[in-house]
Structures are given as C-alpha cells and as structure tokens.
C-alpha cells in the first residue's frame, strides 16, 4: 500500500501546472469566460498537445489508457486553474464510449483532440436522478428515433457528439428500459440552446425532435443502459472530486496568504485566534477531502462494483461537505473582497458550489451510500 504518484503522473501534473501558470492565468481565464464562445480553441489544442485528450483513451485507439488515478492528477490541476474548457465533458463522454466497446473511431478522434463530447443525460424534474428519463428512443427501421429534452448539458454547445440517455422501454423512473446512444450534434432534429453557467462554464438545453440514429449509435445493450450510467456516473464523480480538491487547494492557499498579509487593528488578521482556528478547520476538511478523492480514484478500478459505489458516493459526500465549508469560509475570511468578482477566490467558490450541485449532491450520495449492501450489516 502506498500513495505515491508515478513519475509519469507527476510529469503530467507539472506540465499542466506550468501551462496554466503561464498561459491560463486568471486574467486569461476571465477573458475566455466572457468571450462569445466561452471556450478557447488555443487552450484546447494545448491540452491535446500535452497528451491530455489521449490520456483516458485506450492504447488501441491511440491513447495512453490512463486510469482514474491518472485522471485525478489531471483534474486537480485543471481545478486549481479553474479551466473552463470542455475537457471533463469530453473525458466523461469517452468513458461511455469505452464501456460500449463499439466506438473505436470516435475514441481515436477524442485522443487526437478532434472530437469533443458532452453528456446529455439530465432532464427537468429529474434533478440528480439519472434514471428518471422521459426522453424516448423508439424503434425506427434498423435504428432508433429520439424525442425529448435534456437540460443543463454541460458543454453541449461545444461538443461534436452527445451521449444521450433515452427510454426504449419502461416508465419514467424504471431502471430497466434505458438505452444510451451517441448522437452527433449536427444530426437533423437536434436543437441546442447554449448559455453561460454561473461558474464560468457553458451548458445547453438540447431538444431532440424525431432525431433518427442508426443501430451503430447504440452504446451497449438495448435497455441495459442503467448499469452503464451507474458506472460512468461514478467515473464522472470521481473526476469531479479530484477537480474539487484542486479548487480547494487553490482557494485554501490564497486564503492563507490573505490572512498573512491583510492587516486590521495593526496586525495581520491571521494572528487572530478565531481566524486561526477557522483556518485549521479548513485544513482538516481539505486533508479529509484529499484522502477521499484518492480513495475514490483508487477504487474506481477495483473490480468490485459494490465497493466502488460505496466509496465514490462517500467521496462525493465528504468532498461536498468540505467544499461548502472551505468555499464559504474562504469568502468570509476575505471579507468584502471575497464577494467581488475581482478575486480568484470568488470564482473558486462558485465552481466548488456548482460541483456540489452536479452529479448528485451530498444528500443524494448519502442516500446511495446507505442503500449499498453492507450499510445495514452490524455483526460485531
């Protein structure tokens, strides 16, 4: 048992850190956020050049076959720098394609940075429940026809193709009868309405009106999408946990600096015991969160689905708590400056808050943790 990174992992981290410090500074990031497209082609190309798009793709499709621990290292750095490029959406989408096993050319495109993906899974009123689906996939000749509306599809407007969940059987909240498809965003009948999110990203409402898709677009087994959703959601959560740790690292660091430099009543505010203890509490939250991100990444590939679900949900819970405490307190400790748009801390706080509200919040994952086998067990 050990917690060390490999040399390659450390190199990836260092490369990303150097790039962000030089070319993806806070000012650059703010310009990208307020630009018309909300993303940067240049940044994307650089990420591809650094091997980031190839990292999660299997070697057979030109990738480096990186696992969740490799991705942890990357996501922490992207979180630290508040990168708003459609990287997470693409990597998450690629995981569905990997699980499906029949999308080699698309994975190759992803590896080369030529295809961006987004996951069109959520629906209005479903909130955190990915299996609460009204979108319909009807049989249509050899293929299918999709009708429905997906909401808050992060980076949907920037993607070349979408992972779409739809109901091929069953009723709205059944776990059976869910099927997954990959659908190009320029397919006839796909309408996207792109908008900003409050944490500086992009998302879209995606409407599917009689969208015809071929049989080859089906990911996995017809009607068997629920398990794939479950595993892929865990992968996504694990990545978001790592991103959150990067964000917390950054906001913790700037807050600590602020406490050491900001003076009130003639002394650094960091000399006030009440603030010292607050900062100690933040430190403890951060380290507990870091442990859980590591554990979740490690358990993603442990081969035991029960254990994976249990640990990933636990991680999202613990990190959600840490994110709320650290985010709110970092802003509080910055005083008036903390509630302005001018400081990175405010943007770290916004991103942390939105991570908590996506892919299942604390209560969602707490309920999932409780529902796993083993929670009810109490033989001493």
């Amino acid at each position: 048992m050990h917690f060390n990174l490999t040399e390659e992992q450390q190199q990836f981290a260092d490369a990303l850190r150097r790039w962000a410090d030089k070319d993806y500074t806070f000012d650059v990031r703010q310009r990208i956020v307020h630009s018309a497209s909300g993303v940067s082609d240049l940044a994307w190309d650089t990420l591809a050049e650094l091997g980031m798009t190839a990292l999660p793709v299997p070697e057979a499709q030109g990738g480096f076959n990186g696992d969740a621990v490799d991705m942890m290292v990357v996501m922490q750095e992207l979180g630290r720098a508040l990168v708003v490029e459609p990287y997470f959406a693409t990597v998450w989408g690629a995981y569905f394609l990997k699980l499906a096993g029949n999308q080699h050319h698309r994975l190759g495109d992803v590896a080369r940075g030529e295809l961006k993906l987004a996951c069109a899974l959520g629906e209005k009123h479903a909130r955190h429940d990915l299996c609460d689906i009204k979108t319909i996939a009807a049989i249509n000749g050899e293929g299918y026809r999709i009708d429905g509306t997906k909401t808050v599809v992060v980076h949907g407007g920037q993607a070349g193709a979408l992972i779409v969940s739809a109901r091929s059987a069953g009723t709205q909240r059944d776990t059976h009868g869910i099927s997954l498809f990959v659908v190009p965003t320029d397919a006839p009948g796909v309408a996207l309405r792109d908008y900003r999110t409050i944490d500086g990203q992009r998302a879209a409402t995606v409407q599917f009106s009689h969208v015809p898709v071929p049989a080859s677009a089906l990911l996995g087994r017809l009607g068997g999408g629920c398990e794939m959703l479950d595993e892929a959601a865990d992968y996504g959560v694990s990545l978001q946990c790592s991103e959150a740790v990067g964000v917390m690292d950054a906001i913790f660091g700037t807050t600590l600096d602020y406490l050491k430099t900001r003076k009130q009543f003639g002394m650094a505010i960091g000399s006030f015991q009440a603030l010292q203890h607050r900062m100690a509490d933040m430190y403890i939250h951060l380290e507990q969160a870091r442990s859980m991100a590591m554990l979740a990444a490690a358990r993603m590939s442990c081969g035991d689905a029960d254990e994976r679900r249990r640990v990933v949900s636990a991680a999202k819970v613990r990190i959600g708590q840490a994110a709320k405490f650290i985010g709110q307190q970092a802003v509080q400790l910055h005083g008036g400056m903390g509630v302005t748009d001018e400081l990175p801390a405010a943007h770290h706080f916004k991103r942390l808050t939105m991570i908590e509200l996506t892919l299942g919040d604390v209560d969602h994952h707490l309920a999932r943790f409780i529902a796993q086998r083993g929670f009810q067990q109490h033989s001493v």
Partner: protein
C-alpha cells in the same frame, strides 16, 4: 407575559396591509418576489408612494415627519412590507444620516436635508469604509483639509452601496492626523456631483453592480456641510451604531423567502417525490423555520421592552438574521440541483422577459446565494459581532 397582538395592533396591521395591497405596483412586487435586480427608479417610486402617505420614516420624531407609531406598530409595518414584497426603503438617508443630522446638525442642515430625505429627493450613500480599513473603521485615511470656507477632500472610500445612483454621500474624513485615530475624524456631507469625485463600480461575484469605490481628488466641500464639530465625527458615527437596528434581522423578508423555498422544494424532486416531502430536506427547512420562530420571538422581546433599543444584543440579532438569510438561499440552490447552474444576466436585469432556460423562478437563485454571502461580512462582520458580544455583553 402576553404573546399575542392586541386588537388595536391587529387593526393597525389590517390597515397597513390594505394600504400596501392598494398601492404597491404589481410590476415592482413581481420583481421583488422573483429576485430580479432593482433599478434606481424602482426604489424611488415605492419610497415616494410611501412618503405621500406620510410613512417613509416611521421612527422619526413626528415634528420631522415621523408617524408616532409604537415600536410594535413599526415592527408590524416592516413585517407587512416584507410579506408583500415591497422594494426596501433604503437606510442610508432615512435611518443613517437623518438621525445624525437630527441629533448633531444645525437648523439649516435640518431644514435643507430632512424633507429631501423623507421624500427621496436626494439619494444618499455612506462613505465610511476604505480599502485599508475594514473592521478597523477608525483607521480611515481620507483627509479633509480646511482651506477658507471649504474643506478639500482627498482619498478613497469603498464598498459604497449604490453610489452610482447617489446625489449625496455622508463621509467620515480625517481632519487631524496628529491625535489618537478616533479623535481626528469629522462627519461631512458631500454633493456627489462635486468636481473631483469619481465612482468606480465593484462587480459582485454574481456580476451585479451594487457597490463602488468612490475617489476624492481635491474635492471642495463647503464648511456648512460639516455636521456638528470638527474632529467629533467618531462620536456621531458611534451614536448611529447604537441606533435602532432590529430591522437588521430581516425576519419579515426571511419569512416570505421561506415560503418561496417551500414552493421551490415542492417543485423539485428526490427519488420521484417532492423535496418538501422528503424527510431529510423537510428537516432542513423545518430547522430553519424553527430558527426563524426563535429569532422573531427574540426580536419581539427586544422591541416590546420599555427601552426598546437593543444594546449590544443587536449583535446577536445581526448574526442570527444574516445566517438565516444565507441558509435560505443555500437551501434554495440545493433544491434546484443542476438547475442552479444556468446564468442569464439579461433576464436578471429585466432586458429579457424570461430566462434562457425558461425557468424564471430558478434563474436568479444561484446569484442570490453567492451575493448573500455578504450578509455575514457587511455591517460589521459576524466575527466582529462576536467580539462585541464577548466584550460588551459577557465582559470577557
């Protein structure tokens, strides 16, 4: 102990409730209830409707235009305004500079400013904080040098709420830097149209423009704009801090927002059931509702006692009031889940009729949550309030 309103109080409540129902413009009410951004004219319009009724400054002495209402009646009026969703009567004129003018201003100042404050002819803002002086207000650096009939003001104020709309600013300025920091401060009224004043927006983390930096570059201020005596400004500022501040709890507004939260929670789901029926989410709402009952009762304890100005306990009311306001917004976005992400400033500013997602109720809430982190920071941070409780109430 009798914790019910008298029949007279209830009649009063019905009377003011009727006034609001008949006079609050529905477009203003809709903006307030739906958390849209208010513009200058929105504030002024409601203020002047109330002023025409003679109720713009209930707590003022009757001679200056007050209502003569009891503390309980003033509480009922505030509660009814909050319940209906009126724009606020901004405090900078009515509650902040006016009491200082009444207590320490000369007759000319009273005659000039008080009627204009009452009718919202002047929009006032507050020039206290400076970049270097957050909680340590007395360390302010903006100087006013007496030259003939004028003061020449130089320096910078910050966190100046809605200064972009202001006609007048009341400022603490340093008129003597050779003495202890509290003893060289004066209280000046300054026309915002004076040459040399520059207002720079500070954009909030929800991208709203509600605060500013105000720069003073050799601004000439007539000496008749000095309140009271030179170098006594700190005394006047402290007088203000001790003034009636139970309104700071915003309990009436929080009660309206609790209903809004419950509405949101009845329209968003967990495992196929409305959140309002989910035991865990309902518990969070209920705990907050109970906290609000406790706070409201505490406020009533303070305002119904003989000397109905809270002393240092105002710090407790401020802490609980701000925490409750923050928790309300926190539960709102928790109820939304991913629906909290979309951000549409056009809709918030009233430039679009509907939010880009079509969900008008949800659109303002994440911004509201982020913006309201300010409530535990402004007006003396909650940490400062705890210092005050420890020292002034507990004697530590």
């Amino acid at each position: 102990m009798d914790l019910t309103y008298t029949a007279a109080d209830l009649a009063f409540r019905d009377m003011v409730r009727g006034f609001i129902e008949h006079n609050l413009p529905s477009d203003l009410q809709k903006k307030v209830r739906n958390h849209l951004r208010l513009h200058r004219q929105d504030y002024v319009r409601w203020h002047q409707i109330v002023a025409r009724q003679g109720w713009a400054a209930p707590a003022w002495p009757v001679e200056y235009g007050g209502t003569g209402w009891s503390a309980t009646q003033r509480h009922i009026w505030e509660e009814e305004c909050a319940r209906a969703g009126t724009p606020p009567i901004l405090p900078f004129g009515v509650n902040m500079v006016a009491p200082v003018i009444m207590a320490f201003g000369n007759d000319a100042q009273k005659a000039r400013y008080l009627p204009r404050i009452l009718n919202c002819d002047d929009w006032w803002c507050q020039g206290y904080s400076e970049p270097g002086s957050g909680s340590d207000l007395a360390s302010l650096k903006t100087t006013a040098e007496r030259v003939g009939d004028h003061y020449i003001v130089n320096g910078q104020k910050t966190w100046t709420t809605l200064a972009q709309h202001a006609d007048m600013i009341f400022c603490l300025v340093r008129t003597d830097s050779t003495v202890r920091k509290q003893e060289g401060i004066s209280f000046l009224l300054i026309d915002m149209k004076s040459p040399g004043i520059t207002v720079r927006p500070i954009i909030m983390l929800d991208e709203d423009h509600e605060i500013n930096e105000v720069f003073f570059d050799n601004v000439k201020v007539p000496v008749q704009n000095l309140i009271g005596q030179e170098n006594k400004g700190w005394t006047y500022a402290k007088y203000l801090l001790g003034h009636e501040r139970t309104g700071i709890t915003a309990i009436g507004r929080s009660k309206r927002e609790l209903l809004f939260l419950k509405k949101i929670a009845s329209e968003h789901y967990k495992q196929g059931k409305p959140l309002l029926q989910d035991p865990i989410f309902a518990s969070k709402i209920a705990l907050l509702e109970i906290d609000m009952m406790a706070l409201e009762t505490t406020v009533l304890r303070v305002i119904t006692r003989e000397s109905h100005t809270p002393g240092p306990e105002a710090s407790m009311l401020k802490i609980r009031g701000s925490e409750i306001q923050q928790q309300l917004t926190e539960l709102m976005i928790e109820a939304l889940g991913p629906d909290a992400l979309p951000f549409d400033t056009d809709y918030l500013e009233g430039k679009a009729d509907h939010a880009v997602t079509g969900d008008d109720a949800a659109a303002p809430l994440a911004g509201y949550y982020f913006n309201y982190r300010k409530t535990s920071i402004y007006g003396g941070s909650n940490e400062i309030q705890k210092n005050i409780i420890a020292q002034m109430v507990l004697g530590l």
